[in-house]
């Protein structure tokens, strides 16, 4: 181990530790020596202008792009493991465009996410009834009324909730959500934020976001990235007070964005 191991009691049981993470695309460093400690029980926001390396960071931690440095969860080195094993270790993610199985029903989408809990032999049996963890997730994300609808007909926001529901079924302890509220109405954003706070109590939630109103309302911790590096980390107030942040990010966004 290259760094002294922080005491788990100080940090909560589940935390994701990133040290010196670097993603190098043929000489271009998309992520450049990032240090992050993501703690349980907090809604952690990752913000920054386009191209800051937020999504690439999440890609690296979930095995989609090769990276150097350290990304560790429960003493498991994530950079040397393939994506499906990372998921089985308890780390789940969503993508910028919701990728649910359009032809399967809402219920089936949630059920299929429960595959991590089943043995290969159990997969040969047909689904009977609704497992309790699927019913719970259905209730939590508020899609119980739509359970038999094909996921393809859901509204954009509902698809994102379904994906979050799938992460709940997977029992992901760390949820990496890539712009979950993009394209949502103000009302849907409120609901999503409340949902994240609700499920975040016993999990580590990381949200990549552009919408500053949303960040202000629901962030416990904010990390600002710029050009592959961490610019600053702190509470919303600290971030807003930072002149550097205003220069590279907030200044531009606040002036340039009008919210619906």
């Amino acid at each position: 181990m290259r760094l002294p191991h922080p005491n788990p009691d100080d940090l909560g049981l589940d935390y994701l530790e990133v040290r010196g993470l670097t993603v190098d695309f043929d000489g271009f460093k998309a992520v450049d020596g990032v240090d992050l400690t993501l703690l349980q029980g907090r809604v952690h926001f990752l913000i920054g202008p386009n191209g800051a390396g937020k999504t690439t960071l999440v890609d690296a931690v979930t095995g989609l792009v090769p990276a150097t440095g350290l990304a560790r969860y429960r003493n498991q080195d994530l950079l040397s493991v393939r994506s499906h094993k990372i998921v089985r270790a308890g780390i789940g993610r969503t993508f910028q465009t919701a990728t649910v199985f359009e032809e399967l029903s809402v219920l089936q989408n949630l059920d299929i996410a429960g595959g991590v809990h089943r043995s290969p032999f159990a997969l040969l049996r047909a689904r009977r009834g609704v497992p309790s963890y699927v019913a719970d997730a259905l209730e939590t994300v508020g899609l119980a009324d739509l359970r038999d609808r094909p996921a393809g007909v859901l509204a954009h926001g509902q698809k994102q909730w379904l994906e979050i529901g799938m992460l709940l079924v997977q029992d992901a302890k760390v949820m990496l959500l890539d712009e979950p509220v993009a394209g949502m109405s103000a009302e849907e954003r409120e609901e999503t934020g409340a949902l994240l706070q609700r499920i975040g109590e016993e999990r580590t939630i990381v949200v990549i976001e552009h919408d500053m109103d949303f960040v202000r309302s629901f962030a416990d911790v904010v990390t600002v990235m710029h050009a592959g590096k961490v610019l600053i980390e702190g509470s919303v107030a600290e971030i807003q007070a930072s002149p550097e942040v205003q220069e590279v990010y907030l200044g531009r966004t606040v002036e340039g964005t009008t919210h619906a």
Binding site: V87, F101, I112
Partner: protein, 352 residues
Amino acid sequence: MKSFARSYGPLVAIAVLAVLLLVVAPAVLSPFRLNNLGKYCCWAIAAVGIGLAWGRGGMLVMGQGVFFGIGGYAMAMHLKLEAAGPEGIPDFMLLYGDGTMPGWWEPFRSGAFTLFAIVALPAIAAAILGYAVFKRRVKGAYFAILTQALAVVFATLLIATIQETGGFNGLNQFTFFFGYNLYDPVNKKMVYSIAAGLLVACLVVVWQLYRSRFGELLVATRDAEERVRFLGHDPANVKLAAFVIAAVMASIGGAMFAPIAGIISPSDVDATASIFLIAGVALGGRALLLGPALGAIAVGYGRSTLSESFPDQWTYFLGALFIAVILLFPAGLASLFGKAWSRLPRRKAAPA
């Protein structure tokens, strides 16, 4: 809740097909026609596997002739040795070779070993091939070309090894099938019934697979492979399982083909034969339960009947039919049953 008809309707359809194949057909068809139907059933068994791998799994398996051939040749070697008698040597080895038998033929004297090999050999071959291919994320057209090339290689290898495999002539002139004289019409009927029974059994197997969670996962892998990775599954393993099952089914089809057709030769297992299998599946409907089997039987029937009436032009008919089906019913002919069923007037079902 799903209605009873939706859950068990397919099983009823399989049962109807079983009655048609196992009771009605032997009663009404002449021994010659029944034997032909037996051949179609063998192709249908392979087609059921293709339906699983291609229709549900999205893997366009263009070289199932290879696995059909593994099963067919394994069975044919046993029948050849049975015909030669204890300690005997297959006739063609005396004709083309020096009268010695290669050592790897020897275990096929045992019927039990042969049956084991018919299942194990294709499973091992498909597992090795599939592991190498799927772990490297080879898919789409590349996968199709690779499997097709394999069929070409396999047939070329058979033709080149006349002393060991009978070469272009293949293996033929079988007299006994596990002790039963193949010239006896009653025994021929029995062999047919075994093939038809195996077809029904394979259909029941895929019915269970399609309704299982594995079936849902396989379709999910077909439609969004990367997404499945983030459900905690390695898509390669999901595809590998379907590919191996499809290979074993093709092998079983081939194994029954040898005694029914009385011959297995490179032209039964080469690239063209593999494409005929695919054509049947596409015609019937690759993603449907009964589509591949019915399609393969229809193509087989078309091959025989049209080639009797129009020995030179029949492939054009088949080609035209193929084009028409792809244009008009991309989901296959069997999808018409489903459409007709959903248009039937019926009492309004209680809301779920």
